[in-house]
Assembly symmetry: C2
Homo-oligomer: 385 residues x 2
Amino acid sequence: MNRIPVSSPASVTVFRRILTHGPIGRVDISRATGLSQAAVTKAVTPLITAGFVVEDDELRSTPVVGRPISPLAVARDRAHIIGIKITAERTYGVLTDLAANVLARTEEHNASTAVDDVIAAATSVVDRLRDSSPTPIDGLGVAVSGDVDREGGMVRDSPLLGWKGVALAEALETATGIPALLENDVRALTVTELLFGSARDASSFAVITIGTGIGCGIYLHGKVVEGAHGVAGEIGHLPLGPRDAVCSCGRRGCVEAVASTPAVLELVRAGHDDPSITTEDAFALAHDGDPVARRAFEQAGEVIGSALAALVNLVGPETVVIAGENVTEYDLYANALRTAFSEHAFGAASECDIQLRPHRFDDWARGAAACVIEVIAGGLATQAA
Amino acid sequence: MNRIPVSSPASVTVFRRILTHGPIGRVDISRATGLSQAAVTKAVTPLITAGFVVEDDELRSTPVVGRPISPLAVARDRAHIIGIKITAERTYGVLTDLAANVLARTEEHNASTAVDDVIAAATSVVDRLRDSSPTPIDGLGVAVSGDVDREGGMVRDSPLLGWKGVALAEALETATGIPALLENDVRALTVTELLFGSARDASSFAVITIGTGIGCGIYLHGKVVEGAHGVAGEIGHLPLGPRDAVCSCGRRGCVEAVASTPAVLELVRAGHDDPSITTEDAFALAHDGDPVARRAFEQAGEVIGSALAALVNLVGPETVVIAGENVTEYDLYANALRTAFSEHAFGAASECDIQLRPHRFDDWARGAAACVIEVIAGGLATQAA
């Protein structure tokens, strides 16, 4: 990957600030990062020389004393990235510039979840987006749910895709000719929130995704929590559900076992003894006041609210963003969620700012692109291929 | 407080390395911290000048080329600190040197939990330890359970003491004439583990304390997690207990409601309809196979095991240290704890290294002293009085 020649951690810090808050003056970078103005200037120089940062002359101001000052901005057109999000049914892709602005999007049906079929769909998505790019593509970010070995580019275990031990990054590099970075999808979304979302000024935050699975990304002390053994943020597998509920992971009492979209659907189908009910039917039934459907969504809300309380009681983030494709139906479980959260959040932890953010799959794909931008910026250079 | 003149964050990092791993050579400090040898030398010079770090001439070695090299050690006698741990019944105190070696200990019965009575006991403890110190006392660390405002020196809410809004640091400074640093007791114990315990080389770890309360300190990305709203590590208040169990905090279903020592005792008393049963009686009954007592401890183990799984699933620490005064009776609930943990730990999170560490109250007091040493070392200078 075409990396910025980073000479120091200060360069990474400065580049990230320009990326998230640019156009921004050197004084403001100094204030926000705690670096001296001399250190900011030293860090910026190689970024400008390499063409990744530009002085924004349109915003130039002339101080009373001294020479004119131009704020700094990321050179958006300097690199182009493709991010894709793979789900069991479809592969979604976006083309972005170096500032993660989405320039084009597309999606493709997967013929099946077989690895070859998904790679075919992903390659088709990449080829279409590549045609829209004004420059060669600098990197491909790939977001997949499950246990992902980022450094090895390996999907260790993705229950939703039915994959174990798939060397996806290498396969996609071979198919597309673009350096690929594999990332857990919730972590990708967390990076998007960190760089461009409402959490970009939070000292700590968590993103909870509600949908086919229930996941969580946690940002603390300047980094996304990875887990010493590669597992973290598994809020969907806290044992807060009913003890008799069996999860898709095989364990009992997991949050996901009653609160994921498929689990709610299963409860509605069982309650009506009708396996033909679809997710859309379940939403419609609940909106129409059907007691079985309402109860299923309320139980999901209760368990998610308890999980949210567990999260804030343990790590106390400043902000929690609730996201995911199911959030559009949030009103079906919002009350139960808030009640359970209030009951169990401990003391000042309940002051945590909880925000709702409906994400489309494109946002996950953009997150995968944002992870590549982080690598290009050198922030994670040691971890990436 | 008599702070080391710290010129850079590198000095703090270097001092901490010498504190935890000294006597240690400059090359090894460089290797462990990632700082260049020139940066280590630059950081060490003011520490030596101020007398906080010494060259250990007894361990001097003469390389084939160049001048003799002496490893660096903390100048233990350069400062003396008193740490105290306040419980409802007694106040425990230790005198330590700058390397947190315990030089003397004492304890005192509190006449009551009234603030004045506790301050009287604490003053008596401090006076006795001061008499044992070869130099004037440089700082007083105070560990108290509950919600503690470290910066303001204020006990916001300590249910075990029945205190709300007590300006304890100032009161103790007035009574003893020593600058005081107030600290939540679990955080103090976490700092001890971080600096001197088995977790000192772990990239991340958590300490869970089991006793009158159930608490948790989490160390991630180089810092103890504080919580954006001042609350973190409240593992005792995760809603993993039976829904009908009422906690001392007023909430339902908390871990503490069935797994704290008083909660287990209450269950044994209720089962035998005998309010005169003591904690020691309950331990004895359980060891003798009394089914009521055994079931009470097993339930505690199950709930703590689930809480431990929730912790590792969310934040994935490398190591968990289980500590506290109740740990001596760990065999009464160890099996139930491990079974519940195995059932609910997700994937590789179950590889977390779980260690058992019986702590005495002296260790908590030493933790309070260690927090003062951190302040003296400048690492937390901005947060302390």
